[in-house]
């Protein structure tokens, strides 16, 4: 898949998505860690 048109991509949406995923991962990892500490 090659993306042709740059102008129609809402990059902000993708960047927020990546940050949200990272935050969710850190929170999940934190709770896994806390379970056995």
């Amino acid at each position: 898949m090659t993306i042709k048109n740059t102008s129609i991509v809402n990059w902000k949406k993708y960047y927020i998505g990546v940050v949200a995923l990272l935050v969710a991962e850190i929170v999940a990892f934190y709770f896994i860690t806390r379970q056995y500490v």
Binding site: M1, T2, I3, W11, L22, F29, Y36
Partner: protein
Amino acid sequence: MHALDWIVLITTLAAIVGYGVFKTRRRGAGELLSGSKDVSLWTIGLGIMATQASAITFLSTPGQAYAEDMGFIQFYFGLPLAVILVSIFFVPAYRKMSAITAYQFLEQRFDRKTRLFTAALFLMSRGLAAGITIFAPAIVLSAALGVSLNLMIVIIGLIVVFYTVSGGSAAVAVTQKWQMLTILGGMGIAAYLLVDKIPVSLPQAYDIAGRMGKLNIINTSLDPGTRYTLWSGLAGGLFLSLSYLGTDQSQVQRYLGAENQSTSRFGLLFNGVFKVPMQFSILAIGVLLFVFYQFTQPPIFFNESEVKRAPIEIQATLDQLENRHTDVFEAKREALFQGDWEAVDAHKEQLVQLRETYMATLEANVPNFQRKDTDYVFITFVLNFLPKGLVGLLLAVIISAAMSSTAGEVSALATTTYVDYYTVFKGESQRPKRTIRTLTFVWGIAAIGVALAAPLYENLIQLVNVLGSLFYGTILGIFLVALFMKHIGGKSIFIAGIVGQFVVFLVHYLNTADLISLGFLWYNVIGSAVVVCIANILHFGLKQQDLSS
């Protein structure tokens, strides 16, 4: 190894390499340098991940979780943030000037000497690292397969040289996609079989891992000497990833090999989304291995080739320790089935002490004994517990990973040498394809040479582990000034770069001499900060001087 495994191993590797060579057989010089423009975002995304994931990632990472815990995952927390910053600031800057290498941008922004200085830092660090990406897995594979180390290095090295010289960056991109898919498929199968072989349910396995300290993932300690914490992962990891993705030609080459800016950005974001889950999955395999070895007796020491070097006089002592290890292990397994955690902990402590005594005995009697055996944990499982055919596939996974990262590095080294040095000093070559192929060949042979010489330097591996961080801080500092501090010129940044590099070397010296205690990820922050500060101080100093004169 069984004949079927050899067939699977050779067929898989030959198919990937043959496909790469076939697909890129009639390419021009431009494609040798920066790849073919018609590649998809999957090729770019998987290529970026394949260059990053060396064989040692798949050998060492499960071993790390097995021996310690999953805290290593924090090292990757800065990467998704770095991906976003590279996508916003670095990609448009490179694409605007149709750059082939990242360092061309520095000449346009500052001057030629800054470009040459930064390219030299890259060539130095990557040139050594390319050798180690061959050496590190070769040492494990040779010990595990009983093949000579030098032969293993030469085999891996020559296959890489063959297809990289033949198809350049385009062949690297095409082969990396299939190498990465083989890697992910192979690791998935290994995980499935591991779960299948554990005699308890997955929730029970999870509980055992948690109670035995393997599910420690997040460390919020503020101690700068602790290697992997949430903070060093976010801050140091961000700087390291920013430098790696934004300024290391082996990465830049992958996403600049796209048709347009959107494909470059999506390729990077792909990495930002999948990197943490992929590393988590590899660490989880290590944890599953740990649970598996709670029910199946592991060797007391995983690197069998080191045990074989033990003199005959200590054999009786070693046998005695091994027998005692078996007895205690059986008692611990029984306690585990009964859920008697007090007894489990007591037996676990005994096993640790027996292993210590075993290693101390070997250390006292085997010259240059290598204590670290975590790299052998996963390969030992593969060789001893996987069915025929799959052993060959998993070895193809590990060798593919070694080849994909080395090929990416060798190709980037050749491209940088050609674009940033050859064309600068000698102009465009009359026969560019031949010159690029010669440079690729020379760097490939140099990487094999470094790998062959590596055993002569005891601390080389240790050095190479921190090598990236030794240079990346300075390089990133130069690029940050280039992108965000338009007022600073070539003279200030060049001196700041030299000072920054000197400060990082000094900090590393103080760290290795135990005069300070600092996780190596912080070198990236220090290097960048020193370059940015010194460049600004010099800029305003020079401005004052001009005003007063």
